[in-house]
């Protein structure tokens, strides 16, 4: 693949998915990046047979992000239960303003 093609892919596919993970699912920048990469790994196997690839990959991303948030919430609850002094945080609240690298 040539560099312009990869730039186009980044602009047209990767960035919108990152933004969705970041804003809609309130993931931190690093988590959003991981989720998009995971979605791509699943897509390599299956996307060519999808009827509507755009709708398909967004669904995959949404599922991964939902699972991620659910696990984070469960982990947070368990930590609050078992670790003295740990403060529970709701999954939807986390992430967006974390990370430190964002302006």
């Amino acid at each position: 693949m040539s560099s312009p093609e990869l730039d186009e892919f980044y602009r047209d596919i990767t960035l919108p998915l990152l933004r969705r993970a970041r804003w809609r699912h309130r993931l931190s920048r690093d988590d959003a990046w991981d989720i998009v990469q995971d979605a791509f790994l699943i897509a390599i196997e299956r996307i060519d047979s999808a009827k509507n690839p755009r709708a398909w990959i967004v669904q995959v991303l949404d599922h991964l992000a939902l699972n991620h948030n659910r696990k984070a919430l469960r982990r947070s609850r368990l930590q609050a239960q078992w670790i003295p002094g740990f403060r529970e945080r709701g999954a939807p609240e986390r992430g967006l303003h974390e990370g430190g690298e964002d302006e």
Partner: protein, 488 residues
């Protein structure tokens, strides 16, 4: 937009490349977006602050959009309708970068939804309806919600996860689809409402919004079951809709809408005087609230009812007035109006006028696509042909009408069409076609407890027995036994 870029080959190449190059994604627009909204809140004259907005680079627009959305949705009680409207217009005007996903529509749909809720809370029915329609229109351009809603509308099936319904805008989209489907595919609409009622429990919305969405579902179920002739079930759903609408911030227009449906149901049950008593005041309220569509619907209902009580000239005047005053009627209501107008013209002996209205009705029915409307139209054509002595063609028209009603499960009207065509078949001496059709109609009507039409069919059956057209004495005996078991 092609799908070539979204292929396994491109994704694999990207992963290989990105592993080397890392990423540079930043959400730089959080703070400026919040600042922008704050500026908007302080602006009393509605002007857009030029010191924030023009500095946006094209590639940052989606992040700004999401940030504004976040800000507006994050604390709706503090967001004025004016701010949200200006933000919507501001974002809609921006030149968003093209991508494989319509982020512009995605962001704007949520703001439009917020605006629909907020304007409803301000008792502004027309504006709330405008924003609802805008929200649904934008949603259809997004993925995966757009595909989900389109699949549902076209094939009655979708592989999309029901978890998408947890987004209130998507749920609103489904409620809007049901407003059409309750007239087009009442059986499907009723089933969908039942499952959506359960799913609505997962919606993360305030109680007021939940009540509004559920009330809308219940209203659609009330209309669908009324079309199916299930009047008792329809009354229960409409009662539920009324109770839920009462728990919303601005129930009045929606209660008017539910009352309108109840009147249509009464009309179908021959309670015409009751309809005429109530429909006038209801039209006045609907007009005062800016409910254009409901006003037109109620006026058509009044005209229909005037026709039924033989006040044909008044009915025709009302039909013609609605036809000329409401130029943007939706095709289903318009075709229904034109069919009833043609019927009235025919009753008044204006055959040319009736033919003209029928022609226009066919055009509107094609635009509408509702099988129910085609059922009405074929039935009227059958009556006109029958009265003109063109009986064979009339039977064919009734057959088309019966098929249209049967295709959407409207059994009551299907059975009525069967009685009308059986009557003609018997008149032509075609006992072997007419009698089974009559028996089938009686069976449907008895199951639905529509006694008035059962009585008509039974009388026809008696006439058939006495006509001397029976193929054998055995057939007459069997039919007498059937008749003996039927109610008098």
């Amino acid at each position: 937009m092609s799908n070539v870029i979204l292929s396994s080959e491109m994704i694999a190449a990207w992963i290989r490349g990105s592993a080397r190059g890392g990423n540079s994604y930043r959400t730089r627009w959080e703070s400026p977006a919040f600042e922008y909204v704050d500026c908007q809140d302080r602006q009393s004259d509605g002007r857009v602050r030029s010191d924030v907005a023009p500095n946006i680079e094209r590639e940052d627009i989606p992040d700004l959009g999401y940030a504004l959305r976040e800000q507006l949705l994050g604390d709706p009680p503090l967001t004025s309708v004016g701010t949200a409207t200006r933000s919507f217009e501001f974002l809609a005007r921006l030149d968003w970068p093209e991508s494989e996903f319509s982020e512009r529509s995605d962001v704007l749909a949520d703001i439009a939804y917020l605006l629909s809720v907020r304007t409803r809370a301000q008792n502004d029915y027309p504006t709330a309806q405008h924003w609802e329609a805008r929200c649904v229109q934008l949603l259809l351009e997004t993925e995966p919600s757009g595909t989900f809603l389109r699949n549902r509308a076209e094939n009655n099936d979708s592989r999309a996860d029901w978890r998408f319904l947890a987004r209130p805008a998507v749920f609103l989209g489904l409620c809007h689809q049901l407003e059409r489907e309750r007239n087009h595919r009442p059986l499907v609409a009723r089933e969908l409402v039942t499952s959506l009622f359960e799913t609505s429990g997962t919606l993360m919305v305030p109680t007021e919004e939940l009540c509004y969405l559920r009330a809308s579902l219940a209203h659609s179920a009330g209309v669908a079951t009324f079309h199916l002739g299930e009047f008792e079930e329809s009354a229960l759903w409409l009662d539920k809709a009324r109770r839920l609408f009462r728990q919303t911030s601005y129930p009045l227009p929606f209660l008017v809408s539910v009352a309108g449906t109840e009147l249509i149901s009464k009309h179908a049950r021959y309670q015409w005087n009751e309809v005429l008593e109530v429909v006038g005041p209801l039209i006045c309220i609907a007009k005062k609230l800016g409910m254009t569509r409901q006003t037109a619907t109620l006026r058509v209902l009044r005209a229909h009812t005037l026709k039924e009580v033989s006040r044909h000239e008044e009915a025709l005047r009302e039909f013609q007035a609605v036809d000329s005053e409401h130029v943007d009627l939706d095709p289903t209501l318009h075709s229904s109006l034109l069919i009833a107008m043609a019927e009235t013209q025919y009753m008044l002996g204006d055959l040319e006028g009736a033919a003209g209205s029928c022609g226009r009705a066919a055009v509107a029915a094609t635009r509408s696509g509702a099988p129910l409307i085609w059922g009405f139209l074929h039935s009227l054509t059958g009556q006109v042909l029958r009265d003109s002595g063109r009986v064979e063609e009339a039977i064919q028209a009734f057959d088309r009408s019966i098929a249209a009603y049967a295709s959407v499960g409207i059994a009551g009207l299907q059975a009525y069409g069967m009685i009308l065509s059986a009557e003609m078949l018997l008149g032509l001496g075609r006992w072997q076609q007419g009698v089974p059709r009559l028996l089938a109609a009686i069976s449907i009507l008895r199951a639905m407890k529509i006694d008035r039409k059962v009585a008509v069919a039974v009388e026809l059956l008696r006439a058939a027995i006495n006509s001397g057209l029976a193929p054998s004495q055995q057939a007459v005996r069997e039919l007498r036994q059937v008749l003996g078991r039927l109610p008098r």
